[in-house]
Structure formats: structure tokens, C-alpha cells
Amino acid sequence: MIPEKSSNGALIDARSISKVFQSGNETINALRDVSFDVGRGEFVSILGPSGCGKTTLMLILVGLTIADAGEVSIDGHRISAPYTNVGIVFQNPELLEWRTALENILLQIEIRRLPAVHFTGRARALLTQVGLCGFENKFPFELSGGMKQRVALCRALIHDPEILLMDEPFGALDALTRDQMNLDLQRLWLERQKTAVFVTHSIDEAVFLSDRIVVMTPRPGTISEIIKVDLPRPRTLDRKDTPQFNAYTGHIRKRFLELGVLRDG
């Protein structure tokens, strides 16, 4: 592989990504000509309505799905196979029900054939950081939805990956738990400064968490706008009621109205 640095020095560089799905004799254009980049240590959200290809785009970024056109490079290397210096959190926690919280986190280590002994302490520390101290030996069925997602987050961070990918990780949680998870995620991210790609359909969540927001159109998914969020960190929940915050959410909501994603009256 020949390393060729991308012109702007971004860590993830997606160029003209297109993806088509074949469903029976119907052709679905999931993504059309999507280009954007993610800087090192940057938190970028991909925001859009359901079915606009956000998840597909995220999977393409790390080579878990292959694009029909366009290419992705990470740190200058073109992605043609799954990129493994990554931690992923899906909407469903995807915990293995026969493993305890700790064992689920250490799956990441086992699969990578790293010495589990060295990472057990780290896994416990991570669990403590997300407020799950004492839950190491609980099985997934003994945990609430929010707790399971916290364990999934620990599993995505245990090996200290370069990139953290999240696909609507808090989409199935209640509003209060979701707010708490957003705060916890921001704290974990600020401590580590990982490059993060966060897929969501919540305008609020995207503005609260992101450095930049990639706003997607409905199918076929294209980029409508990329918004830079200039709000100081660490952001607190009461910031959500400030005019600065509402300027961003209002702007995006207006954009979705124009796109026909939202309709008044």
C-alpha cells in the first residue's frame, strides 16, 4: 500500500461515495456522490432522516461495506478491507448474552489476540468511568438498556482505537438516559480526543456533541450541508436552552423543512 497523504491532512477522507442496493428488481440509490472528511480528534455527526444511508455511509468509512463508486482513505491509506483500528457501537448493544459485562468488553481483546491479563484492569476502570463499578460480573439480561449500551461503549474503547464509530447508539434509550449518555460520551471523548463519527437522527444530540455536523438529504443520501458547531466545551445540558444552541438547531430544522423531511401543519 502506498501512503498518499490527503491534501487537507484529515484522518478520514471520503471522496464521491455512491452506493446502490438491489432489492428484487428495484434499485435503491442509498448514497450519491458523498464527500467529506473528518479531522484527527474531531467529533463529526452524520445527521439525517431514517433511511438516508447514514449507517451505510458509516460502514463504508471503515471498509465494512464496499462502496459502488468513490473511495475512502484513512490516514492516507485507501480502505479496501475492514479497517481495524476502530471501536464501533451499534444501536443495539450487540452484547453476547452468555458473557458477563467484563467478558463482553474483553471480547475485543480476545479477537485481537492481545493478552487479556493486561486489559482486565483497564476494562474495570472503563466500567467505573461509565458508572458501572460493581457490574463486572453481571450478564446482559441483568442490565438495563442504558447499562448495556455503556458496556458496548467500553468494549469500543478498551483497545484504545484511533477512531470511534457510533451508529445511533442512544436511539433506543429514553430521553433522560439519553441526556446522561450524551454527557458521559462527551466526557469520555474529551479525555481521550478520539476521532469520532456519530450517526444520529436527533438534531439536539448532533449539535450538543459535534464539532461538525454533516446534514444528509433523504434518499438518495447526499450531503445537504456541513455545519461547524462553535460552542465551547465541555458543553452542559443547560447550554441547550441558550440562543446560541437554538440558533444551530433552528437552522438545521429549517433545512429539514426545506428538504421536505419535516412538514409544518
Binding site: 460502514l59 471503515v62 465494512l64 475492514p82 479497517y83 481495524t84 476502530v86 471501536g87 464501533i88 451499534f90 443495539n92 450487540e94 453476547l96 448474552e97 452468555w98 458473557r99 458477563t100 467484563l102 467478558e103 474483553l106 471480547l107 475485543q108 480476545e110 479477537i111 485481537r112 487479556a116 491479563v117 482486565t120 458508572g131 457490574f135 460480573n137 453481571k138 450478564f139 439480561f141 441483568e142 442490565l143 438495563s144 438498556g145 442504558g146 447499562m147 433522560l176 438516559t177 446522561q180
Partner: protein, 278 residues
Amino acid sequence: MAEAPSSFRTAGRNGRGWNWASHGAWFTPCLSLILCLAIWEAAVRYFAVPVYLLPAPSAIARKLVVSYPLFLDATMHSAVAIIVGFGVAVLVGIPAATLMIYSEWFRRSVYPILLTAQVLPKVALAPLFIVWFGFGLLPKVLMTFLISFFPIVIDSLTGLNAVRPESLMLIRSMGGTRWQSFWKVRLPGALPSIFGGFKVAITFAVVGTIVAEFVGSDNGLGYILVLARGNLDTVTVFAAILWLIVIGFLFYFAVEIAEWFCIRGRAAGRSQELGAGL
């Protein structure tokens, strides 16, 4: 912590204390069984039913005690055929299901053969087996294997296919191999389903062996049944049926115990394994 852990609600589920409900579940059927036997005994005596038509429970019990070595020997012969036939079905069935998951070509070519073998009444093959393999262990094992193979393959397929695609993607993002995702995710996730297949298959296996012994064998419980029927020795027929019920239960429970170790015991075993590595 904002959320209440669901463990508080489910903690009592696996309690080990004395449980009246579950002991009542044993007590009531035992009582009704004894009652049935008593009515049977009384009716046979009162109406003086000839013993070749319907022997009294006491006569059957006497037979069981007196001819104990005979039945034990026959049971051993049947049990060997059941164990070997079922064992081969497991050893062939799970790899076959695994191959069918990973190879579309293999699935397409094997599935029709599998289905044909299943819809075909296997009893019809028994005479052929005698012609080909004589009266030994082999035709019994073959019949047992054929009859218990199908549920094992089908349930293994269902279980192995039930894996969530996101789980497999996670393994790929960890740089995992196909081999790793099979051993760490697919197979453990499929175990409940696989054991479901085992439970059906083990009861079929008993039937397979007895049918093979019916048609052509010189030992085993099926052979005793045929012999006793020929002599109008109804007491022996009933005694043999009782032995069949007992070994049927024993084999079924053996599978349940294995399941307990593999599925419920697994969690505890794994954490011990992990603890030992610390």
C-alpha cells in the same frame, strides 16, 4: 445511576430454596400414577382378565424382578446402538449444518438429499439393511443415525443462522477471522437451538433402534418384544415396554444435563477461566 437494573426484578427467579410449586408438580403426577396402577390391578383381578390379554401390574413387576438379567442384557444392547447412532448423528450433523451455512453450493447440493431421506419412511429401509448388513450392530446404528440426523441438522442450521449481522460486523472490525466468529459468536449463540434438536433427536434415536431390532436383530429390547409377542407372553411385552420408557427418560435427561453444563453452567465456567488468568 439513573436506571434501575432489571436484575432486582429477576433475582429471585433462580432461587434455590424449597419450592412448594415445583415439588407439588412431582407429587401430583406420582399420586395419579399410583391411582391408575391400583385401578388397573383391581380391574384385572375383579374381571379375571386372561394374562395374555392384559397382565396385572403386580405380574409385570414380578417378571421385571425375576427376569432382571435378561432385560438388563437386552437394554445394554439397545443402549449401545442408541448411543452410537445418536453420537454419529451429532458428529456428522453439526459439521454438515456448519458447511451448509458457509457454502451455498454445499447447501444446494445436500439439502434435497437430506429432505428426501427425511420424507422417506425409514422403516421401509430396514429390510434392505438386513440384506446388506445382516443382523449385527451396524444396521441398528444406521437406522438410529438416519432417524435422528434430520432434527439435529435442521435445528443447528436455524441456530447458526440466527446470529445478528451486526455481531459479525463487530468481529470483522476487530480483525477477527471467520474461524473466530464461528467459535466466539455463531456456535455459542446456536447452542440453545442445537440442544433443542438434540432433545428431539434422542427420543427419535430410541425409536430408530427399536424399529431396527423389530425388523431384524437377535438381541435388544426390540428383539425381546417381537419374541414375546410370538409366544403370547404379554407380561414380557409389558415389562420390555417399561424398560423402554425408562431408558427413553434416561437418555433424554442425559441430554438435558449436557445442556445444563453447556448453556447455564457456561457462564460460571467462563468467569472461573477468566479469574484463573488473573
